[in-house]
């Protein structure tokens, strides 16, 4: 499993960057979401994967017995997913309102605030 996941993470990063570089608003958002997934998966994988050994203290024992899966990255990933979800929801609404008011779906048209006034 640990041999497959790095390739998957790399693929997700590549796909996310590819989509973010597009001009369309929707592709931008999807790209950001995929990049978020890639980071979450990386956070999960990098602290090593232990299968079939939940971090539960067995009956009668004082502490965890090796081997056990590290519970902390799982908690981190959960938190990151929830936060990411909130941010993505906001970004989607922002893009929608932006699409309505700026009246374009082309990121290259969003250049009025950068223009030098001469």
């Amino acid at each position: 499993m640990e041999d497959v996941l790095p390739f998957l993470i790399g693929g997700l990063y590549a796909g996310g960057v590819y989509l973010v570089l597009h001009k369309s608003f929707v592709k931008l958002i999807i790209g950001l979401i995929i990049l978020g997934y890639a980071s979450n998966l990386m956070l999960f994988t990098i602290s090593r994967i232990t299968r079939g050994a939940p971090a539960l203290v067995p009956e009668g024992a004082e502490a965890l017995v090796e081997p056990y899966a590290d519970p902390l990255p799982q908690a981190l990933v959960l938190t990151a997913i929830v936060i990411g979800f909130g941010i993505q929801a906001f970004a989607i609404v922002l893009i929608k309102v932006g699409y309505r008011i700026v009246a374009t779906d082309n990121l290259d048209d969003l250049n009025t605030t950068d223009r030098l006034d001469d």
Binding site: S39, L43, D117
Partner: protein, 504 residues
């Protein structure tokens, strides 16, 4: 003693929540915001008092000992940043009461400001890298909404760029946390600092450092990651820009200082060179960008970037004197920059424009406002005896002592160009004759104009100007404090011992 630390966070949080109950009731929200922000500032002063007694105050949340629980840590640097947050929140809050339009205030401007102050102070006090990430996200979401609040076309355009690049930065931050956790098996900053020495592969530490470098680089707007700042900072109402300029980029700089003095202290020529390169390019390109602009707020916004360059320069030199300079520079820049933005807002209230071409003759009719501008602008350019001079003097001296002549050269050139863009604003807005159509102003119109400068917008500007002058004239005690801060930052053992509770 530990609870004093919590008070700084709980007061703005409570203020934000209470004002949510008064949705659409602007009057009560203003009162709640005022009370909670004053209380927060007082709590920060109180915290500063006990930190000065005890060096470092640590709160282990829910009683879980470090490194298992989340530690909140107040050392000199964190505490004075929190104090600055309180003061600036108060000043900009009062300003916005006189300046912000009713529609924005009705749609939750004050609760958002409270949450922003809450999250910024949280980021300063956090002693745990994942907790820091969470504070960053709270800060981001409140700043996203503040940026887009009002739904004007320019704001939405700016907000889309701001949101996209900051989400990218968060993704890098998260990846960095993953790498660092994989290397050390802990999230507590003090514990990481302790264990990172025993990581066999230095290349991987540098890799983690690069992830954090990119994440904080985007937040603090260093070259070449700053492009969101000039695109977005001039779009929201000026009070929002002012509070962003005061706090948000400084959070990024704070994180830089914390990580590169506590965690990434290993010998790495690559990282050192990267910091030097970033500092020089950020300073110089920021000031060149500002020189090209012809709009009051755009000049000031782009200028933020070059000031961040100075802060990174101090960190890149890394001696005690340099870090002292950085601490003093942060105080200076927070006061002066915010003040300039607020003054640009007042000029806009008077003349209805930020365009330098359309403005003029402000000195003739409002000499007092011109005086306030001159103090801040000259301070920014580094004229003695104003605060900018002492800040730059310390940094330049630190650079000369440690033979960083290249950085010193760039810093001095940048200071010169800063003077150029400040005098451009002075010439165009204050000094030059009023544009044609305005020269025959009647007394009536002047009276009407004058009426828009109400007490709420003028009071904070005067207060901050006085503060920045005080900081310059009584520079010695402030420098003494900055020196203590630098010493504490450069001996991370103090931080580690206090957080982990190891007996000395």
């Amino acid at each position: 003693m530990e609870n004093e630390l919590l008070l700084v966070l709980l007061v703005p949080l409570l203020g934000g929540i209470i004002s949510l109950f008064f949705w659409m009731d602007v009057k009560r929200q203003k009162i709640v915001f005022l009370i909670s922000t004053i209380a927060m500032t007082l709590a920060a002063i109180n915290l500063m008092r006990s930190v000065l007694e005890n060096e470092v105050i640590t709160l282990q949340s829910a009683g879980w000992d470090a490194p298992f629980g989340i530690s909140l840590v107040a050392d000199y640097l964190s505490t004075f940043m929190v104090l600055l947050t309180g003061i600036m929140g108060l000043a900009v809050g009062i300003y916005s009461m006189g300046d912000m339009d009713r529609a924005r205030m009705r749609f939750g401007f004050f609760p958002l400001m409270s949450f922003l102050l809450f999250s910024v102070s949280g980021a300063f006090l956090s002693g745990d890298i994942f907790n820091l990430y969470v504070w960053f996200e709270i800060m981001l979401i409140s700043s996203f909404v503040l940026m887009a609040l009002g739904n004007t076309k320019a704001q939405l355009e700016g907000a889309i760029k701001y949101v996209t690049l900051n989400i990218m930065a968060s993704i890098f931050f998260l990846a960095g946390i993953g790498v660092l956790y994989g290397l050390t098996g802990t999230l507590n900053m003090a514990d990481i600092a302790l264990r990172i020495d025993s990581v066999p592969d230095e290349g991987l530490i540098t890799l983690a450092a690069i992830f954090f470098f990119i994440a904080f680089g985007v937040k603090s707007a260093v070259f070449p990651l700053f492009s969101w700042l000039p695109a977005s900072y001039h779009t929201p109402p000026v009070a929002v820009t002012a509070i962003f300029a005061a706090l948000l980029t400084k959070v990024g700089v704070y994180a830089f200082i914390r990580f590169f003095t506590l965690i990434f202290t290993h010998e790495s020529p690559f990282l050192d060179n990267l910091l030097i390169f970033t500092a020089a390019t950020t300073m110089f390109i920021g000031v060149l960008g500002a020189a090209a602009q012809m709009e009051f707020r755009k000049i000031l916004s782009v200028h933020i970037i070059s000031q961040i360059g100075y802060l990174i320069m101090g960190l890149a030199i890394g001696t005690k004197l340099a870090i002292t300079g950085v601490v003093y520079f942060i105080i200076h820049i927070v006061f002066v920059k915010t003040n300039l933005f607020l003054i640009s807002g007042i000029v806009n209230r008077l003349k209805g424009s930020y365009e330098l071409k359309k403005l003029g003759g402000v000195y003739h009719t409002y000499p007092f406002l011109a005086l306030l501008f001159v103090i801040s602008a000259f301070s920014l350019a580094g004229f003695p005896p104003l605060s900018g001079f002492w800040a730059k003097f310390a940094l330049v001296k630190a650079g000369l002592v440690s033979d960083a002549y290249f950085l010193v050269l760039v810093a001095l050139a940048t200071g010169f160009l800063t003077l150029y863009s400040m005098s451009k604003i002075w010439n165009e807005v204050f000094w030059k004759k009023r544009p044609e159509e305005e020269t025959n102003l009647e007394m009536e119109t002047l009276k009407k104009e004058r009426a828009v400068i109400n007490r709420q917008v003028l009071l904070p500007v005067i207060a901050i100007t006085v503060l920045s002058v005080v900081v310059a004239i009584w520079a010695e005690p402030i420098f003494y404090f900055a020196e203590m801060t630098a010493e504490q930052l450069l001996t991370p053992e103090i931080y580690i011992v206090n957080v982990l509770g190891i007996a000395q």
